[in-house]
Amino acid sequence: MANLNIKSKKENSYDAIVIGSGISGGWAAKEFCEKGLNTLVLERGREVKHVKDYPTTNSMPWELEHRGGILQNVKEENPVVSRCYAYKEDTQHFFVKDTEHPYVQEKPFDWIRGYQTGGKSLLWARQVQRWSDFDFEGPARDGFAVDWPIRYKDLAPWYSHVEKFIGVSGNKDGKPNLPDGEFLPPFELTAGEKYFKEFLKNNYPEREIVVARCAHITGNQEFYAKQGRTLCQNRTLCQRGCPFGGYFSSNSSTLPWAAKTGNLTMHHHAVVHSIIYDDEKGKATGVRVIDAQTKEMKEFYAEVIFVNASALNTNLILLNSTSSRFPNGLGNDSGVLGKYVAFHNYRAGISAEYDGLKEYTTEGRRPTSGYFPRFRNLHKQETDFLRGYAAGFSSGRSTHSDYSGIGDELEKSMAKAPEYGPWRMGSHMMGETIPKEESQVSLDSELKDEWGIPQLKIAMDYDDNDEAMIKDYLEQMSEMFEAAGFTNIRTRDDKRAPGLDIHEMGGARMGKDPKTSVLNKWNQVHACPNVYVTDGACMTSTSTQNPSLTYMAITARAVDHAVKTRGKS
């Protein structure tokens, strides 16, 4: 028996274990494998191979039985995922159904999840705006959360490292609050967007519209051919999975790249129960994994463990990793684990029309939009709320067809080319929210999932700061829209629950002081440094930018640190 155990221990031992194969886990896998470490990636969901497992990728609209619609009974049984903008007939197989993986909403929270190879990297909106020191210095300047232990200069080379590999389309705009990166050619702004950009330049010189940077290949084909990827073809059917690899996902890029080194082992249906902490050795030695199908428990061992299970699931794993040294969860000496979670405030939006530019329209499709970097409270505090918002801004020429009749009148109208209407303008806010102690996730003491793991309880909500920010966004946008000559201006606050932004962050925040944070500046658990957390759970504050690029850069930086310090204690 003893021999057998030793054998099994040896067989199940790796240099590094990465929990999760999503956007940050894929990066950890690639970096470790490239640096020669024998790496195990644990994915709780099924295998989704690039192209081969994108069943709808080349479907024509008429080939979707319900033309994109979700069945009524599925909607009724799964209200949370049904509220997600990307959950449609052609993408539904990549989303977790509410019924399959229940959780407890202490406060309403729409938790959108993707359990498969690549996780949500298959489904993301592909927006990759860098953070700047206006973001990293936010908590210290404005006195909330704790100070970030890193600054822009620590991350800048890693942003570049990531951008070059994933392919980022963007324009060098020279804005200090939205640093430029390693860009492939940008997509065009539309005539309507250019008009508004010009209007701002002349009337609000501190404010500017740029084309949003997105993880799409628009140049340097030879380089990306090595990954088996090629130019974005403007299909804008990204969430089905792209047969061209035109946008970045773990499936199309980092995971196959890692596999080519020969150093990657990947297990699917591998639900991580907890991280094993060895009291004698004073470090983590591996992970306990339940096979999602057989329910059999197995252990895997490694000298370094990366937790990239997605922000809230990473919290769950850490909280469930109890030992005599860490009775309240791994690395939770401070008691802050699971606390100070936050999200992005996407509640408000505005739409309008513009009667000019009649001679222009757009042609083709664009997988990104215009982007309005944060201008509020940027250089100094100027409002009665903390922080600010970025915003999406897009404009396109509307067309109109009259489908009101029936009979031959309707057929004639359908056969005609549509008529041009006004330009339509639209914007939605992306507000920074403040991480607070009472915003937290915890383990339910009774409810368990199918594998006997406690269900996650989620409690976060909007506060007065968020409400004031919504009001300001709508006022400012309305004022600018009016001044720009836009008409038929309509504002909205859809009162959505947190979560639908799919930017939940924090719970295992980075910080300088182990008494008030879980991770150090290298993303190591303060009290258990061979465990690194580099997904959304590590975030100290949320900023306004879409966070995935920052997760990837943080991950690459942390792997570099883990490998450089290997063998040193």
Partner: protein
């Protein structure tokens, strides 16, 4: 497999109606493809007359050539809630009697002009949702909505009338319109 269960299987596979030879001939069987609706072949035929009135095939193709009635039933069966289904089915089943009573002629006996007028009037009927007029209104509006959706998203329309590009491979933000 005996003939009876073979035919049942066929009915399920094809979504078509199969008259069970041993059944009471006075009772029409339910179309198996639309379990939530409990509609029969006659209901399907009447719906087909409605969608052929909406798309008579004088400028474009006729609704039945594009299987529009089947699409309307599929969407009503799968993508409406129980209340909406109730209104749709009651309105459909009552449509011939209702039109006779209200317009003096059963819909199934009307020519294209009369039928168009009946549908337009029926779509604008007033009254509680859960009334005969309300069911008729819901039935006709739902049928128009799904028929239009099915038509605009049909292979015929998206290849021959307004071609859909799966792979545009371009984006121009300021394209000059000729003759603007």
């Amino acid at each position: 497999m005996d003939r009876r269960s073979a035919m049942k299987q066929l009915a399920i596979l094809t979504g078509g109606a199969v008259m069970m030879p041993a059944c009471n001939f006075s009772e029409e069987s339910i179309l198996q493809a639309y379990q939530n609706l409990k509609v029969t072949q006659s209901d399907h035929a009447l719906l087909s007359q409605v969608t052929n009135t909406i798309f008579p095939g004088t400028t474009l193709k006729k609704a039945e050539e594009l299987m529009i009635p089947d699409f309307v039933l599929l969407m009503s069966n799968d993508c409406l809630n129980a209340d909406q289904q109730n209104g749709f089915v009651k309105g459909l089943k009552g449509w011939d009697d209702f039109s006779k009573k209200t317009f003096g002629k059963a819909f199934s006996k009307m020519d294209q002009n009369e039928a168009e007028e009946a549908i337009i009037k029926g779509m604008a009927l007033e009254g509680e949702n859960d009334s005969e007029a309300g069911h008729t209104r819901q039935f006709l509006n739902t049928t128009k909505r799904f028929a239009l959706q099915g038509y605009l998203n049909s292979e015929y329309f998206m290849t021959e009338i307004k071609p859909y590009e799966l792979v545009p491979a371009r984006f121009y933000g300021s394209k000059l319109i000729e003759n603007a």
